[in-house]
């Protein structure tokens, strides 16, 4: 348990983004080894390793690959680099520091699933990372890792870097594929899942940046080595993005199962300004709030779920005792309202009404009964939306109402935000 740099092991190496330097740290040895194996062997290896997707849902990567229908070609690999979940900034870091590691992972995955054309869908704001990847792809092409006959082994692969243009929903895999096809980025009905009918109607695997970055290491060191790290159902490491009221925010790669307390107190240097911890939120904007009593929960998909939240995309937002939980929830609700693609009514209208109600609480215009009205709206969105964005827009606010209902009522009785007032009084 604890810090375990696997993906980030060489990140202190200068110029790691350059091919020669990356190769010196052992780079592309995984892809070379993979090319000596049968694609099926690779799928089995990744299955056996227990690697689960790092994009949010934690789906076993090898299993996802094996869902592709036999004999149907072409098939595509799409690397999801749209990272837009509030609280997350790990993929940006991975792409910028070691674009070749991400690319090598994409090449391994492509070879394993029998794909000759892969895509990277990167969020529009990540321009330096786009540049890093573009340069890496060019270098790799020159070196023969990409092309019509990779390293003389008869394998053909090309990678297209595709830049998004500002839409959180395009991180959802079906919306991403729709967007990649040139349309408005609206989600599609599942099933059929992308593995059966994905990009251009062909079998497609969508994998997150951090997920693919694990692959070179698994190929080199084996499934048992990978499986020895982490927890029985959460192998390996994760890069946690810590933000908010800690002394040292940033990315920390920890072995799965490491207690949350260690992340916040040891690596993050504890809550800033010698204040007390009020709450924290793993996973990202979508996920439920947890309390100091949950500090000893392990950083692991299943453990966090058991505690009442979700590990999601690996965010850790820390909130100290001065935080207005109502305002925190308000920001997320406004975000979901802004990012709702508008395709279905529960999400489009529901996030609008939640957002309005939250504004009323902050402005001091809310009534006590509005707390339950918020919950009612939440129930009419969750489970009734077309895609998980709608559902997830209700999770954090509902969990905040569950644990901090009094704060909502204080906003009513004090006709405004009690926390802002204290802050103003403090400087007065």
């Amino acid at each position: 348990m604890g810090l375990k740099p696997l993906l980030t092991k060489d990140f202190h190496t200068e110029n790691l983004e350059q091919l020669a330097v990356y190769e010196r740290t052992g780079g592309y040895a995984g892809f070379k080894k993979a090319l000596e194996m049968q694609p099926d062997e690779l799928v089995e290896l990744v299955k056996k390793s227990g690697l689960r997707g790092r994009g949010g849902a934690g789906f076993p990567t090898g299993n996802k690959w094996s869902f592709l229908p036999k004999g149907v070609y072409p098939r595509y690999l799409v690397c999801n680099a749209d990272e837009s979940e509030p609280g997350c900034f790990k993929d940006r870091y991975l792409m910028e520091k070691s674009p070749h590691q991400v690319l090598e992972g994409i090449l391994i995955a492509s070879y394993a699933i029998g794909c000759n054309l892969a895509f990277i869908y990167i969020r529009g704001e990540y321009l330096p990372q786009h540049e890093a990847l573009e340069a890496a792809i060019e270098e790799a092409r020159q070196a023969g890792y990409l092309g019509k006959n990779v390293l003389g082994k008869g394998y053909e692969i090309d990678v297209i870097l595709h830049r998004g243009a500002g839409a959180y929903i395009c991180g959802e895999e079906t919306a991403l594929l729709t967007s990649l096809e040139g349309y408005r980025g609206e989600p599609r009905l599942k099933p059929p899942f992308p593995a059966i009918k994905g990009l251009y109607g062909k079998p497609t695997v969508v994998n997150n940046v951090e997920t693919v970055a694990n692959l070179p290491h698994i190929v080199i060191n084996g499934a048992d080595w990978f499986g020895a790290m982490g927890t029985p159902t959460g192998k390996g490491t994760r890069v946690w993005c810590m933000s908010g009221h800690v002394n040292r925010p940033g990315n920390y790669e920890l072995e799965n199962g490491t207690p949350i307390r260690e992340l916040i107190e040891e690596h993050g240097g504890g809550v800033w300004k010698n204040r007390k911890l009020k709450a924290f939120q793993p996973g990202g904007a979508s996920m439920m709030v947890l309390l100091p009593e949950h500090l000893d929960v392990g950083l692991d998909f299943d453990a966090i779920q058991k505690a009442g939240s979700l590990a999601g995309a690996g965010a850790m937002v820390v909130m100290d005792e001065t935080t207005c939980m109502v305002d925190a929830a308000r920001r997320y609700v406004k975000f979901f309202h802004h990012e709702s693609c508008g395709k279905c009514t529960p999400c489009r209208e529901g996030t609008f009404w939640m957002s309005n109600l939250f504004d009323r609480f902050e402005a001091g215009d809310a009534k006590a009964t509005d707390v339950d009205l918020l919950l009612d709206i939440g129930y009419s969105i969750d489970g009734r939306s077309f895609c998980p964005l709608g559902d997830a827009s209700t999770w954090f606010p509902r969990s905040v109402i569950k644990f901090f209902r009094d704060e909502f009522l204080e906003h009513v009785s004090e006709k405004g935000c009690p926390f802002k007032r204290t802050a103003q009084e403090a400087v007065a």
Partner: protein, 202 residues
């Protein structure tokens, strides 16, 4: 304004790489925005012609994505994040300060045409360096009033007379931003200025 030859070439090259030319719509919109600073209806018509697709399709796609601008803005874009992780570290205070210093409201352009600023509820993926803002394509992290002052000064200096003329710098403007640090304060203060769009009418 007709599209430059380089832009048209870029669009056709992109289109040839995808299994479906329709996938080149977003890359084409980017190419146009890099050349002209924003995307007009006329330009979308040209994209439609180049790709042999209906103009309505280009317009429907373009209107979905928040990063495509439909009208000219200041020579520099400043976007400050106010989502929860940034709020926790003082994004509201920094937003108020920024607005005060620029003297115009959220969404507006400064009188000298140098800077258009707005706040955003979209997390920009730099919460570890909060509060933060995006200046053109570069992230400025760990903002303080002093840092904001320095950035504004730098942007205003960068558009001094003589520098505003359009040059053949399309390729370098395209994707050559200064690098932002993965963690902690970015080293940007010392990095050279990059203009958002070289061919913008002042």
């Amino acid at each position: 304004m007709a599209l430059a030859k380089g832009t048209i070439e870029e669009i056709t090259t992109r289109a040839a790489r995808y299994p479906s030319k329709q996938s080149a719509i977003i890359p084409a919109l980017w190419a146009v925005q890099h050349e002209q600073g924003y995307v007009t209806k006329d330009a979308m018509g040209e994209i439609a012609q180049i790709l042999a697709l209906p103009p309505s399709l280009i317009e429907a796609t373009a209107s979905f994505y928040s990063m495509f601008l439909t009208r000219p803005e200041g020579r520099h874009d400043v976007v400050i994040c106010v989502n929860a992780p940034c709020m926790l570290r003082g994004a509201d205070e920094m937003t108020a300060y920024l607005g005060q210093q620029l003297g115009v409201r959220d969404g507006q352009t400064t009188k000298d045409g140098a800077i258009t600023w707005h706040s955003t509820i979209e997390c920009l993926g730099a919460c570890g360096g909060a509060p933060m803002m995006q200046v053109d394509h570069h992230f400025e992290e760990n903002l303080t009033p002093e840092r904001i002052d320095a950035i504004i000064q730098r942007l205003r200096r960068g558009v001094a007379p003589g520098e505003g003329a359009a040059g053949p710098e399309h390729a370098s403007d395209r994707i050559k931003p200064s690098r932002s640090g993965g963690e902690g304060p970015s080293a940007s203060a010392t990095e050279p200025l990059r203009r958002k769009s070289p061919k913008r009418a002042n």
